[in-house]
Symmetry: C2
């Protein structure tokens, strides 16, 4: 039951002890990644959440409520977030064609540019992290 051979199945998920190393690794890596994103954001005077917002809106256009769902934040919080983003010229609030209550969010050119720039910088800083992952494995992960 505690033999290493059992480690390949996934049914010990709620029986603590087995795959914990992998979990720890993933959690630790996640903190590293978030730290990178935070730092890149800070260099452009953007909060982590704002960076995330730009990343999300980069390839979609969403209503405010949908953005809140993506971010896992309250609508009131997102409302303020949009305020700040709008003040800096990254997004515009547009009227939704079909629903008069909704606000459609769209990145401006400046917003697109900042999103791309941020993404690039994040990719660069993550290279050291990714290099710890063997190339062959990286291919597999990329599905």
């Amino acid at each position: 039951m505690t033999t290493p051979a059992d480690a390949t199945d996934s049914f010990e998920a709620d029986a603590p002890g087995q795959g914990d190393e992998l979990v720890d690794l993933l959690v630790q890596t996640s903190f590293d990644v978030i730290a990178i994103v935070t730092r890149v954001g800070a260099e452009h005077d953007m909060s982590l959440t704002l960076v995330r917002m730009l990343g999300i809106l980069r390839d979609r256009t969403l209503k405010a409520a949908e953005l809140a769902d993506y971010l896992g934040l309250e609508r009131s919080t997102v409302s303020g977030l949009i305020d700040r983003a709008e003040r800096r010229g990254f997004v515009v609030r547009e009227a939704h064609s079909a629903d008069g209550r909704s606000v459609q969010l769209r990145l401006t050119d400046a917003g697109q540019a900042m999103a791309k720039r941020g993404a690039d910088e994040i990719a660069v800083r993550m290279a050291p992290l990714l290099e710890r992952v063997p190339p062959r494995l990286r291919e597999l992960l990329a599905d």
Copy 2:
């Protein structure tokens, strides 16, 4: 130079475009992981940072300054963090044997218990995430 065959080397790191999907995947996953840790923490009235602190002190005993380095936070911030953790009985400040300025941090039994409990709960919630990673690959990742 931009052929897929070259994707296995890592020299395109600062030439944006190639491994971006993998980067995006990792960033997205990281946010998911942090959200899980945050939620588990919240259920025990602990901030993300406090959860992290317990996790770090679980197998080490550190000076406050070292903890600050681990967390990437200012010492003043960590001082307050320790206050809160101490008030809740998770850690104790001990005098450092060799350096009269330093504060040695040690988890109490209650702190150890909470750290373990949190870790277990996090592992459980991360199972769905990990199941998306094929078992064979998981073995590889575990090194």
